[in-house]
Symmetry: C2
Subunit: 120 residues, 2 copies
DNA sequence: TTGACATATGCCGGAATTGGTATATTATTG
DNA sequence: CAATAATATACCAATTCCGGCATATGTCAA
């Protein structure tokens, strides 16, 4: 018997999104598929930490995962949502007038990342 | 020394927004200015409860208030933000396919509301 | 099967959020 | 000034969220 107005559902999703690292992860995964270890190096966070945030996003249906051997690649599940979030950040910049930086778009190959996409 | 990326700021605002009643309040205040007691009757919530949610929104700069005698009228401070939120809910409906209802737009005069706008 | 690697999950203490009740503040009226 | 009405704030217990560390799971290679 869960009451489900649009406001409740929206609040649920917003709670998931209201986290800087999860937002950043979504930003990354919107541009490129990435495995956990790749995100680890990009974010300078521990493996369990990254894995847990990904689990939160996955449980909410915001990212999907795909296994390739022992690696698991994640990607943003909903392009429109990401676009909406980007729009929100743009709004934020406009209104605040501050030069709020997004984390810079990461190159597809990251120094020090052990994943096969980055090692050759 | 507060680290402020766009992600951090966005997460802060999203935390404020990630609450069904606050979302609903913003939805109401986007359409019409309203005093606390008016919101009380619309939302069927206690005065301190409504007042507190309004304080949260006010502290975040999302609503402004205006005193008129002993009444205090609130309104949404940022039209673009509200539009953005509405867009988010629309997205939600499209993606989910569910007929998620917004709370119906409330008539300017509400049965049983003690505020002068509703009493004549 | 054993070991190594990538990832996931469980558990914990601390911090923040939630909603309720009691009380304080501010302005009006008499 | 006192009484009242509208609103705000303080305080509290319950829940949720957070990030860290330990450990479990799953896959591959030897």
């Amino acid at each position: 018997m869960t009451v489900t107005s649009a406001y409740h559902m929206q609040a649920q999703i917003l709670r998931i999104l209201a986290h800087p690292v999860r937002l950043r992860i979504l930003g990354i995964l919107a541009r490129q598929e990435a495995c956990v270890c790749h995100l680890e190096t990009l974010l300078h966070r521990s493996q369990p930490y990254v894995s847990k945030q990904l689990a939160v996003l996955r449980d909410a249906g915001l990212v999907t995962d795909r296994r390739e051997g022992t690696l698991i690649f994640y990607r943003a599940a909903n392009e429109n949502l990401v676009a909406w979030l980007n729009m929100g950040r743009a709004l934020l910049r406009d209104e605040s007038g501050l030069p709020l930086p997004d984390a810079p778009a990461s190159p597809p190959v990251v120094e020090g990342c052990p994943c096969p996409r980055c090692q050759r």
